[in-house]
Amino acid sequence: MGIFDKIMGGNTLYYPGCMVKFVMKNLQDNYEEILRKSGIDFIKLNDLEACCGSPVLNAGYERDFKTLAKKNLDIFKKHAVKKIITSCPACYKTFNKDYRELIGEEWDVEVEHVTQTIYKALRKGKLKIKNPEKRTKLTYHDPCHLGRHSGIYEEPRKILEKLGYEIVDMKSSKEGALCCGGGGGVRSNFSELSNAITKDLLEEAEDTKTTVLVTTCPMCDACFLQGAKNSKMNVKELSELIIEKLE
C-alpha cells in the first residue's frame, strides 16, 4: 500500500487485545509475523491502545464502556484507522457488534478477525506454508465470541486443513460448542466454577481420541493451558501451529 493509498484508504491496525498484549505475549509476536508474511501492511498502537471494553460491558459498567468506546474511536480517528485486524474474538465481537450498535454510522471501521485475514492470504497464495507431510488429527474449539456470537466457524477450520491437519470435532462443536469457562468474567470472579467448566470441555476433547486441542482465542487458550495440567490434551493456539509451518 503506497503512502497515497494510506491517506485515502486509511490504516490497517493490528489490535492484539489486552489478553494477548499483557498475558499471552508470544501470540502477539506470532500474529505479527504471520501478518507480515501475508503481505499485510499494518500499524500498531502499542501503549496508545485501550481496552475494547468487552469485560467492562459484560460486567455491567455501561458508562465506562461508553467512555472506552469514545476513547478508542478518537484514537482510531487520529491514526486514520479504517480497518482493524484482531486476534481476540472478544475484541472482534465488541468492535464489530457492540461498537456498531453504540456508535452507529460514525463507526465506519472495517473489523476482521485474524483467521479471516489469514485464510484470505492462504487462498491467494500470499502466505506460503510448507507442504504438509502427513495429516495429523487434532480437535478445534470454537470460541463463543467467534462462533455463536459472530458466525465464524469455517475460516479457522480451513486454515487448519491447509496446514495439513484433520479436524476431529468434539461432541459439542460449532453452534453447539461448549464454553471454555472464561467468558463473562467468570474466570476472574468464580475460578472454581470456571475450572469445572474448563474440565468439562477438556473431557470432550479427550473423547475425540486426538491429543491436540487448538483454539483461536487467548482466553480459551489460557483456560485450557491452566486446566490441561490434569489432562492428556496438548493445548495450542492457532498461531503456534501456523508459525511451525511457515515457509
Binding site: 498475558v23 453447539g176 474466570r187 467448566i197 468439562d200
Partner: protein
C-alpha cells in the same frame, strides 16, 4: 452467596451432572427427530409473534380470558404477588382436606406446599416431584426435577418412610410410585395443577406425559389451577402451537402424551335439555392468576423473560447449570431464573443467586425455541446492579485497573505467567 466450592463437590451435583451430560445427546437427537415434519423456523417465528402480541396486549387479553372462563362457571382470582396467591389458595383449601398436586412452576414460585404440608395431607403426583417431596430435596429442573437424586436414595427413602423394599431398579421404583400415587389421587378432595397456556377465547391448556394431570384435574371434587398472566395468548390455535413447541423442546417428542384442555365446568343437558353443571369432572374449578413481578418486567422492558415456555431446553447445555444445577437461580433456574429472581425477590437476591455466573456463551439462546437472548438480559441486569452499587470485589478491582491504566490487568501481570485473576472477556 452460594458456597460454590461446596456445591461443585456435592454428591447431588455429581449425580445431576452425569445424568444431564449422559442424556443430552440423546435428547438432541430426539428433538431433531421430533422436528421432522415441522418447519422449525416458521414455528419459531410464529411463536415469537404470538408471545410478542400477547405481552403487548396483555391487559385486554387478560380481561377477555377472565370473562370467558367466568361465563363457563370457572372461578377466577387475581393475585398481585406470591403472598396474595397463597392466601387465596389457602382459603379455597380447607384444613385437613386431602390435596394432590401435579407439576407446576408457579405453585413452587408462591411456596404453597410449605403451607399445605402444615395443615393438609399433601401429595405430589408427578413422579419426579414425588421423589423430591419424599427425599426432602429441592427440584433442579422444570421438566426433570429429580435427575440429581441417586437411585439408592430413592429406594432407601421409600423403605424408611413407606416400609416398602425395592431394588435399585428405575422401572420397579417408578411402578411402586405410580401405584402409591394413583391411590392418593382417588382419595383426594382437591387437585392442584398449573397450566401451560391460557387462551383468551377461554381455554386452559395443561400438558403432560405421565397421565397424572388428567386424573388430578378430573377426579377430586375441586380443581385449583394456579398460573401466571404471561401464559395468556389470544386463541386456541396459538395455544396449540405453544403446546407443540413445549413437547419438542421440553421432551424431544412431537406431541406431549396428553394435552388437557379445560374450558368450563363439566356439564350435561341430557335430561330434557336442562343444563346441569358438574358431571364427572370436578364440581368446582378455580383459577388463580398471578402477576408476581411480571407487570414490572414488562414495564421495565424485560419482556423476553416472559416469552419463556418453560421447556428447560436452555438448562442442559448451560455450562454453569451443568455444574451447580438449582444453585443457579432461585425458583426458576439458569440465566432466565436469575432474571426472574431479580423481579420476584429483588436485585440483591438476583445478585446472590448467580447474576454474575453467566459466561455469556449463548448456548441457552442457541437452544431456545423462542430465541430468548438470556445473556443480553443478564448484561442489562448487571448494568442495573452496578447502578445500585452491587459489584463483585473482583470486578471493582478490574474497573480500578481499567480506569487508571486503560487495561483490565493493571500492573498485576508478570511476564510469561498466566495470572490467577484473568480480568478479561
Amino acid at each position: 452467596m452460594t458456597n460454590l466450592k461446596k456445591t461443585l463437590k456435592s454428591e447431588r451435583v455429581k449425580v445431576g451432572k452425569e445424568t444431564v451430560i449422559e442424556n443430552y445427546n440423546n435428547y438432541l437427537e430426539n428433538r431433531k427427530k421430533s422436528q421432522k415434519d415441522v418447519d422449525v423456523d416458521k414455528l419459531k417465528e410464529e411463536l415469537k409473534e404470538i408471545k410478542k402480541y400477547s405481552i403487548e396486549n396483555l391487559d385486554e387479553l387478560k380481561r377477555k380470558t377472565i370473562k370467558n372462563l367466568k361465563e363457563q362457571n370457572i372461578q377466577v382470582f387475581e393475585a398481585k404477588d406470591a403472598k396474595e396467591a397463597r392466601k387465596i389458595a389457602l382459603k379455597l383449601i380447607p384444613k385437613g382436606k386431602k390435596v394432590v398436586k401435579s407439576k407446576s412452576n408457579v405453585v413452587n414460585e408462591i411456596c404453597l406446599e410449605r403451607e399445605l404440608l402444615k395443615r393438609n395431607e399433601f401429595t405430589e403426583t408427578d413422579c419426579g416431584d414425588f421423589i423430591i417431596q419424599i427425599t426432602e430435596e429441592k427440584e433442579c429442573h422444570p421438566v426433570s426435577p429429580a435427575i440429581h437424586i441417586p437411585l439408592e436414595k430413592i429406594t432407601e427413602t421409600i423403605k424408611e418412610k413407606f416400609k416398602a423394599k425395592l431394588p435399585n431398579d428405575p422401572a420397579k421404583i417408578t411402578h411402586w410410585i405410580r401405584d402409591y400415587i394413583k391411590k392418593k389421587i382417588f382419595e383426594a378432595d382437591i387437585g392442584i395443577t398449573g397450566a401451560n397456556v391460557l387462551s383468551a377465547d377461554g381455554g386452559i391448556f395443561i400438558l403432560e406425559n405421565e397421565g397424572n394431570i388428567s386424573l388430578v384435574s378430573r377426579l377430586p371434587k375441586k380443581h385449583i389451577i394456579i398460573t401466571s398472566i404471561d401464559k395468556i395468548v389470544p386463541r386456541t390455535e396459538d395455544a396449540v402451537k405453544i403446546c407443540k413447541a413445549a413437547a419438542i423442546w421440553g421432551s424431544g417428542v412431537p406431541l406431549p402424551t396428553y394435552i388437557n384442555v379445560i374450558s368450563s365446568l363439566s356439564r350435561t343437558a341430557d335430561v330434557q335439555k336442562n343444563l346441569i353443571w358438574g358431571m364427572y369432572g370436578p364440581e368446582e374449578v378455580s383459577v388463580i392468576l398471578i402477576d408476581n413481578g411480571r407487570s414490572e418486567m414488562i414495564k421495565e422492558g424485560f419482556t423476553e423473560l416472559l416469552e419463556c415456555i418453560n421447556c428447560g431446553a436452555c438448562l442442559f447445555p448451560c455450562p454453569i447449570y451443568r455444574n451447580i444445577l438449582d444453585k443457579y437461580g432461585f425458583h426458576y433456574f439458569g440465566g432466565r431464573g436469575v432474571g426472574m429472581t431479580v423481579f420476584q425477590q429483588g436485585l440483591k437476591e438476583g445478585f446472590k443467586n448467580g447474576l454474575y455466573y453467566c459466561t455469556t456463551c449463548e448456548l441457552c439462546k442457541q437452544n431456545c425455541p423462542m430465541d430468548i437472548d438470556i445473556p443480553k438480559v443478564i448484561k442489562e441486569l448487571r448494568k442495573r446492579a452496578v447502578k445500585n452499587n452491587l459489584e463483585t470485589e473482583t470486578n471493582s478491582k478490574m474497573m480500578d485497573n481499567i480506569r487508571t491504566s486503560g487495561n483490565p490487568f493493571g500492573e498485576d501481570v508478570k511476564e510469561g505467567e498466566i495470572p490467577d485473576k484473568l480480568y478479561c472477556c
